[in-house]
Symmetry: C2
Subunit: 337 residues, 2 copies
């Protein structure tokens, strides 16, 4: 597989822990700050609040905020931590709503909110976290950031809605797929980088260049995530493999497969895959995708977005900032979860 | 019934149209402003957007914003209209999520979002409207208002979550009921009044007095709404009567009924009502409530909150503002929908 080759090319296995070393403290501070900012007088809601950080996510978005803001050189660390926290809360809120919509029972190896508290309360609790994110942003007091993040969050919703309309739609094109993931994933990752630069008053050129880096990084992130749905293991992913297929989401590897004309028409291949999935024949699905080069195609697509992301950083002059972002970009397509 | 008596006391039937006459233009402007502010490139989402104002609601919240801001004397009408629009969007978003959670199929006489587009898309579309409301607020540029409204919106979610945990819980006390409706309804109505005063830079005393008015008005509004669930007609309400009972929500008339010790224990009465409801014997449920004075009790409770709301206005000196708010308070407990 390409994956191993790529790791070898870079001659070392990038560890997220090592990359995030310079921002370890602010990343850890998020949880305490969350406890200070988000509380409810109602004991059951407080129980739901306590469950938010029950299992650590990758914290990619706050990490990007912290790196883009060059937090280690800033006197405004508390403000930047609050910004990272708000973005992580927006992200968590969208995950909670996703899990309701997909009826998922497992996320990062633990029960989802809907599994534990039911659909209605989970929808409302997601709303609650959205609102709390905006309470924190309003207290921070930067209108430009509030404007950018509310706009981005509405784009995420649009992306998710588009995606839900495309369920089981085997006519979807690669362009449409790319448009959807730009809305639902890349926009918030891009904005995480830009607001990091805004909060520390970096010049407009830097803001825009970080945004473009983030947009490409976000595209790579989602394409690789969708690739992992076929290529990962349940143990590492913290959720079942072929989760997307089961939920009817058609992602890049499948679209590539549909595009291979020698396979017959799209409908036939889709029915074939549905049969395999019903028989729980995961290996047959993966074999079909591998035989047609669809997994390699996806991985290469992710790689090319990473290359573009790294290219966008060329104008930057702060080497520590640049190196961290280059490393994160490498990590994105070398992770196993 | 008390209701007719009350109308006679005031010697005229208050028409909402007449009360809202001084703010008719800004109320009408909301819809056009919405079309300018909220659009999506995706045709299906745009279709959902177009459905937002398909049927006119009462627009109580924007009306309160406009009156509290004394919009007719303000040079900043466009800003105030945007504020009214954002609050109406927040309100509509919560209604969309409510309908998903209650699996309602009818709202204001037309199909709900979940009926038309399914649960997942409706949850996401509610999120989308929330975000768009904050985009508009951020463009308006008043941080105090963003802070107040994001806090209030998170209170609404808390109220809704508390309410969902209390479904079919016949042990609920009147105090708990009042706490829930303060969170889920009164807080946003109160804030609508306060932000109206904030946006036109009225003094702190006026802001606070309008907030207290709104809080009491909001309590009356919800109690009367819950009363109408037993007392209205499907034609006027635009949704089935006894909708709350069917959904398992226990509201003030029922809590009052449970509190009458001579009726036996709460569990027995609740089972009795459930039986009547299963038999679709609406008349028997209403008779039971009337016999025990539970509907009159609720109506009186709503009246006493209206009296308190009106009392809170005493310090105000602007008579046109004061009169409009006094009239709205009267309307709240004289409406049939």
């Amino acid at each position: 597989m390409e994956k191993l080759q790529l790791t070898k090319e870079n001659n070392h296995i990038l560890s997220l822990e090592k990359i995030l070393q310079p921002i370890r403290k602010p990343l850890e501070a998020i949880e305490n700050r969350f406890k200070d900012c988000v509380a409810s007088e109602n004991p059951v809601i407080q129980e739901m609040v306590n469950y938010v950080f029950n299992k650590k996510g990758k914290r990619i978005r706050p990490a990007l905020v912290f790196i883009s803001s060059v937090i280690w050189d800033s006197p405004d660390q508390n403000k930047i931590i609050d910004l990272g926290l708000s973005i992580e809360l927006i992200h968590i809120a969208t995950l909670i709503h996703d899990d309701v919509n997909d009826r998922s029972e497992l996320r990062r190896g633990v029960d989802t909110y809907n599994k534990k508290w039911g659909n209605s309360s989970s929808v409302l609790f997601g709303d609650f976290l959205f609102c709390r994110a905006f309470v924190i942003l309003a207290q921070m007091g930067n209108l430009q950031i509030i404007q950018n993040l509310s706009k981005t969050t509405s784009e995420i919703c649009e992306g998710e809605i588009m995606q839900s309309f495309l369920k089981k739609n085997y006519e979807i094109s690669i362009d449409k797929y790319l448009e959807i993931i730009r809305y639902k994933t890349a926009s918030l990752i891009a904005e995480s980088c830009r607001v990091g630069a805004i909060i520390t008053d970096q010049d407009k050129e830097t803001q825009d260049c970080l945004y473009r880096y983030g947009l490409n990084l976000g595209m790579a992130f989602q394409i690789y995530d969708d690739f992992l749905d076929f290529h990962g293991t349940e143990e590492l992913l913290g959720k079942p493999v072929l989760n997307d297929v089961v939920n009817g989401y058609i992602t890049l590897p499948m679209i590539h497969l549909f595009n291979q004309k020698e396979n017959g028409n799209r409908e036939q291949i889709y029915q074939q895959i549905e049969e395999m999935q019903k028989d729980n024949n995961i290996k047959a699905i993966i074999d079909l995708l591998e035989k047609n080069g669809s997994l390699d195609y996806s991985l290469n697509k992710a790689k090319s977005f990473v290359t573009q992301a790294q290219k966008e950083l060329e104008p930057l002059t702060n080497n520590k900032l640049k190196d961290s972002l280059l490393e994160i970009a490498q990590f994105i397509i070398n992770r196993e979860f």
